[in-house]
């Protein structure tokens, strides 16, 4: 990292196009959204104008029972799916970290749920849980068609279904992040532990887990942020239903913004979600990310 000062200009040139894209299509829209959230705008009623109303949209959001419900659903989804994904991710990482014949195939197999388009996965689970043609019913009840359950018609089952679909799809990604942490632990440390007398479980508990903390934190954070933003799954599988049992916050925002045309309120919802995620990200950058930046500037 010892470049002469003249290269600073070149450096900025190199970064410029990326920054431009980000500025135009990401930062500016975010700012614009925030400004919009301070107005009352109904797309279908242009003659009402677009008055500035300050933070009253946010006040309304605070008291909106539908929004509350959406937050609760989202929170529940985040906690449940993230926890399950992390646990499964650790399991997957431990398995694909070992050396065995055909490991490449197993890794590819485990990656496939991640690679499948979310809409495809959503359709797939929708079909699997179908009340007449679904595999779930076939496996559980076989020929007894009368016992078949309409999974997606029950609020709790539907919620469980989107959690299941998300966990299926992204556990392997969580696994990869954990795997990265596993790969950093030198093999010698395990050898030393074996000689010191640790059983497999002791090695896992006393050595692997503590040393995995940073990777687990990273996985936890990435997955939490992604879980907060879940949309595709809900759109295809349940459309937020039955009722609003699976209406996650981003879906509520979508409906408000694009289906109902309530731009002011819709953007308010979106900004609130963003703020929640931002707080999480800042927390992450503070704790783990600062180490990253130290390495980069070395």
């Amino acid at each position: 990292m010892l470049r002469p000062t003249s290269d600073h200009t070149t450096g900025w040139f190199m970064v410029f196009p990326a920054l431009t894209f980000v500025a135009i299509f990401s930062l500016y829209p975010a700012l614009d959204s925030f400004l919009l959230s301070l107005h009352r705008i109904y797309l279908g009623l242009p003659n009402l104008g677009q008055p500035f109303i300050g933070l009253s949209n946010y006040a309304q959001l605070f008291q909106d029972p539908v929004a509350h419900q959406a937050f609760i659903v989202t929170l529940g989804f985040v906690i449940l799916s993230t926890t399950l994904e992390l646990l499964l991710g650790i399991g997957i990482a431990l398995v694909i970290h070992e050396h065995f014949k055909g490991r490449g195939w197993v890794r590819a197999a485990v990656l496939i749920p991640w690679a499948i388009p979310t809409v495809v996965a959503s359709q797939m689970w929708r079909f699997l849980l179908n009340d007449q043609y679904g595999l779930a019913n076939l496996i559980l009840f076989g020929d007894q068609v009368d016992a078949y359950v309409p999974w997606l018609a029950d609020p709790w089952m539907a919620f469980g279904a989107i959690v299941l679909a998300d966990v299926w799809k992204t556990s392997s990604f969580a696994g990869l992040l954990v795997l990265a942490g596993l790969q950093v632990i030198p093999d010698e440390v395990y050898d030393a532990a074996r000689i010191d007398g640790a059983t497999a479980w002791q090695r896992f508990w006393h050595i692997t887990l503590p040393l995995l903390k940073p990777a687990l934190l990273t996985a936890l954070l990435f997955r939490t942020i992604d879980a907060f933003r879940v949309f595709d799954l809900v759109f295809v599988m349940t459309q937020g239903g039955p009722g609003d049992a699976t209406q996650v916050i981003q879906f509520y925002g979508y409906k408000t913004l694009f289906t109902e045309g309530r731009i002011g309120y819709g953007t308010t919802i979106s900004i609130t979600v963003f703020v929640a995620i931002l707080i999480l990200s800042l927390f992450y950058v503070r704790t783990v990310g600062s180490k990253l930046l130290d390495k980069e500037t070395a």
Partner: protein
């Protein structure tokens, strides 16, 4: 006396369940796609398919699947190329050149990765409307590039960091400018990183749904995810066709994963290690 028997069993069970859990649901979909219409409508459902390809034909011809595939191909390829062209110099600069305010650049990229789609959806829509990009492929590519930049820059920056400093120092002594050092020395060596970034970008663009739904309203222009999400039959859900379309949509990705699982894994986990 190395790996006790019990550990071996645990590993085998782990492998079994991991593979089974990952593949089984999708395999069911594949089986479904090969059934005949009667089989699909059978209640209770049957296990083994007749091996009929009628759904594939129907999906491709009646539901115009080729069109969707073609659109996805265009959009995903364009996104990948453009994103890489922009991300590579940026990643190099961030990895190797002492820039002030680098922290802000990283922060900015991180932010972009964190935004919920919906926060930027409306204004992006407005921008595209103003420049006439609505319902066009290039209009979709613009936000796609923006969304894939963070990951691409991240992966490439990590790769560049791994390369030994001496190489560039030698290039400097040999008289190269920063751009020349990048193109002649670093790029060839970072090829695996480029590859991985390209694959991940392609997969992202291929699978993206939210913006595709928003921006492409004409079915002629729509990409695969939109097509599959909005698959409607005349009277009932055409599950057979959906299954067939899904298999077709996923096949290229499965091939990519099979061929490049090692690269994908190292690319994704390399970024995570530094974090």
């Amino acid at each position: 006396m190395t790996n006790p028997f019990s550990e071996r069993i645990l590993l085998t069970l782990g492998i079994f369940f991991a593979v089974l859990g990952s593949l089984f649901p999708f395999l069911w979909f594949v089986l479904t796609s090969l059934k005949s219409q009667i089989q699909v409508e059978a209640i209770p459902p049957t296990w083994w398919p007749d091996g009929s390809v009628e759904f594939y034909c129907s999906a491709l011809i009646d539901h115009d699947l080729f069109n969707y595939i073609w659109n996805s191909l265009i959009v995903a390829s364009a996104t990948t190329v453009i994103a890489l062209v922009i991300a590579t110099p940026a990643a190099y600069a961030l990895a190797r050149i002492r820039l002030q305010g680098k922290v802000w650049v990283f922060g900015g990229l991180l932010c972009v990765a964190m935004f919920p789609q919906i926060v930027i959806a409306g204004p992006v829509w407005q921008i595209l409307e103003r420049i006439g990009g609505l319902n066009t492929h290039w209009g979709l590519v613009l936000p796609y590039v923006t969304l894939t930049l963070p990951l691409a820059v991240w992966i490439l920056a990590t790769f560049f960091q791994e390369l030994p400093l001496e190489l560039e120092e030698a290039a400097q002594i040999d008289g190269c400018t920063a751009w020349q050092a990048l193109y002649k020395v670093m790029l060839p060596l970072a090829a695996p990183g480029l590859f991985t970034a390209a694959i991940l970008t392609f997969i992202y663009a291929w699978n993206e749904f939210f913006f595709a739904l928003l921006i492409l309203t004409d079915p002629v222009k729509q990409t695969l995810p939109v097509g599959i999400a909005l698959f409607q039959g005349e009277f009932t859900m055409p599950w057979g066709e959906i299954a067939a379309a899904s298999v077709i949509a996923t096949l290229p990705l499965i091939v990519l994963v099979l061929l490049f699982q090692r690269g994908i894994i190292s690319g994704l986990s390399a970024g995570a290690v530094k974090g």
